[in-house]
Amino acid sequence: MCPAPVTAVGRSVPRREGADKVTGRARYTDDIAVSGSWYGRTIRSTIARGAIRSITLNPAFDWSRVVVVTADDIPGDNVVQLIRDDQPVLAPQGGEIKHREEPILLLAAPDRATLEEAAGQIRIEYELANPVFEIGSATEVFSAVEITKGDVASAQRTAHLVVEREFRVGLQEQLYIEPQGAIAFPEADGVIRVVGSLQCPYYVHRALKRALKLSDQQAVVVQAETGGGFGGKEEYPSIVVVHAALLARKAGRPVRLIYDRHEDLAATTKRHPGVIRHRTGVKRDGTLVYQDIEIVLDGGAYCTLTPVVLSRAAIHAAGAYSCPHVRIRARAVATNTPPNGAFRGFGAPQSLLAAELMVEHVAERLGMSSVDLRRKWMLRVGDTTATGQVLTESVGSTLVLDAALKAAPHVGTSERRHVRRGRGLSLVFHGSGFTGSGEKKLQGTIGFEALADGTFRILTASTEIGQGTKTIFCQLAADALGVELDKVTLAPQDTSLVPDSGPTVASRTAMIVGRLVQEAALEIKERLQHERPPLRVEKSYMQPDSIHWDEATYRGDAYPVYAWACTIADVDVDITTGEVRVTDLVTAVDCGKALHPVMAEGQIEGGCLQAVGWATIEEIKMKDGGYQNDRLATYLIPTALDAPRICTILVENPYSRGPFGAKGIGELPMDGPAPAIIAAIHNATGVWLDEVPATPEKVLEALGAQS
């Protein structure tokens, strides 16, 4: 046996599509010129709750050059295919409106001016109903989860100290820089081909089939180069694509439906806001006795992915700690606000913020260092999580805590008189891959080909959205085969060509699908010993026998493995303005194995900054069930000037079933910074905030209450 001649894994090779992206050659959805295509537009509700009484198209207007699609034009089910059949593709006449910006009509016209004019010629009259905007007044429950470990009721009697606290988290917009968009092409034999900006081709494929009543072959979904997703292009593109397809079908020509930023901000899904209450009981020496946690998330008007978000929130709610008695009661409720949905972290940032701040509060009450308390509590190999999962390997808690503390610079004092400097720390874990039986049910599949010309091709529906899928898959395959990297290519993410590898979400692509790529490449290599190309294999995910999950009781192995991070945030708080500036972040991440160190760092740094935004400036103000700041001039995200210096430390702590030991880390960096920043604000000023974002108004209010 000769050793593999090359190693791509672990090297920061050039990104596959890098040259296209730096030259402007990369084609995003709106860059695709289509001769004869029309422009589409969505007409949305202006009320939060009620019924459509009438829709009137101005008879004086020339409608001959405009295509109008209503719910009556939907050939299949008027349902956005996802978990629950509650969300209509278009609100039907007489049907209920449940939120502002709910799609009612679709228009298409040959030019933007006609489209704009037509949009002004429609009158919709409503029957108004009383909307529900607050979690506290919500009556409809989308889902509920209860996790029980030990016996909290009897454990309460043995605690010496009980700390109670309530935390609130706000909405957040994913704010991919490329807005949502799709172009639909009606083709021969009833085929509708759609090209769009999306994370999950097969989610869209299922939605398209259902609403347009198409066969597997008639619905074709192709991912264009995608300008960011962060979960925002997990489920929402199903709506954009189905709308574009309905217009194209009726117009009999291609239709491009590209959102502008205002529409994207006003109408698309956000991170779930919520309230999290903790009661934590400890012994005098800090021994953790029990955690009693209640979570309520606001799902908005329709279910979308809310039950799955709630599930991840609940499973992470006890934090990265080992506690003998845990009770987590979580529910997600409906309000008449635009539906909330997938966003990097998927519920975990919300519940981990609360869990981490509780460590701080308990430590303060005990007069202990919160780092020491974390060392006392944190999960290690052999410990059991809240769902009863015994952690058997790749538990990086100690490694990341030590690495971050070692790397953090000395904290000085600010030279400016009104500025207080402070430091905070957090320790978090994040389950890689789908929750519970998700991967088993999904059975993500890839194809792998050895071609006659001596090259190899990976067939997968996993998408490149900036995180490096294309590059990493080729690295994995090249090393498994023992060939040069340029011998491996990737087929386009087109449902007519590639199998369903599952959605590109849940920190699962590198770890779960990447492992399939590695296994398929090994199998092909083996077959090439005695067979000649072309050869093709398919690999589907097989749940290892050692993973057990009981959906009914929420007991068992919630995730195949967890990634770990310790984050240290340094902040400057201006006590005259309340402004919080995060100056430095040090984050140590146990990623199992860094398949591509530069991309892994890049993912972590980007996730951290998204979390800094959530923790400090990204606030959505609601008015009458709509977002007040639905423009980029008023919804602010961090610029290069606002961003802290970020020091990333990759800790390699291999996971036996990950490809080359890798674990998923896409979402993890969203979890740690917010609690570290809130703790740093306390360290700087002495005030505790119980919510994010820590806007200047809230900081000033807290400082005022203190003095």
Binding site: A19, K21, T23, G24, Q467, G606, A640, A643, T648
Partner: protein
């Protein structure tokens, strides 16, 4: 109206309403789709181009205003033989482009910065790129890439 200007070193002439956004003319009339639309109101910088060497949001510029001027888009950064500029190469090597949608505007802003301030400090780079939003990188790798071009 007819508007004549220089685009990436070559003279061009377009027939359109003078009020048409330069962004639309570049993308739709001249096929230069490297220039992106992120917000349409001058907040994100995805549509940045250079006009007479200044970084400008092309969504806020009417074509009528650029008669006789010199416009550079991302397509004009590589050499005539297609060879990537040092900055473009650095963006690839340092992982400064992730999803890539902000990359064209970011490259143009960085290009001007490197021409004007030598050598820029990390703070100069942050200042120079503050008009261009990126949601993927946390800016760290972008700043590293720009700084790597100063030596």
């Amino acid at each position: 109206m007819t508007v004549r200007f220089t685009l990436n070193g070559a003279p061009v002439s377009v027939e359109c309403a003078g009020s048409r956004r330069l962004l639309d003319t570049l993308r739709e009339d001249l096929g230069k789709t490297g220039t992106k639309e992120g917000c349409g109101e001058g907040e994100c910088g995805a549509c940045s181009v250079l006009i007479d060497g200044e970084v400008v949001d092309s969504c806020l510029v009417a074509v009528g205003q650029i008669e006789g001027r010199n416009v550079v888009t991302v397509e004009g950064l590589a050499g005539p033989d297609g060879k990537l500029s040092r900055l473009q190469q650095a963006f690839i090597e340092h992982g400064a482009a992730q999803c890539g949608i902000c990359t064209p505007g970011m490259l143009l802003a960085a290009h001007v910065l490197l021409q004007r301030t030598l050598p820029p400090s990390a703070d100069d780079v942050r200042e120079g790129l503050a008009g261009n939003l990126c949601r993927c990188t946390g800016y760290t790798k972008i700043i590293e890439a720009v700084l790597s071009c100063t030596t």
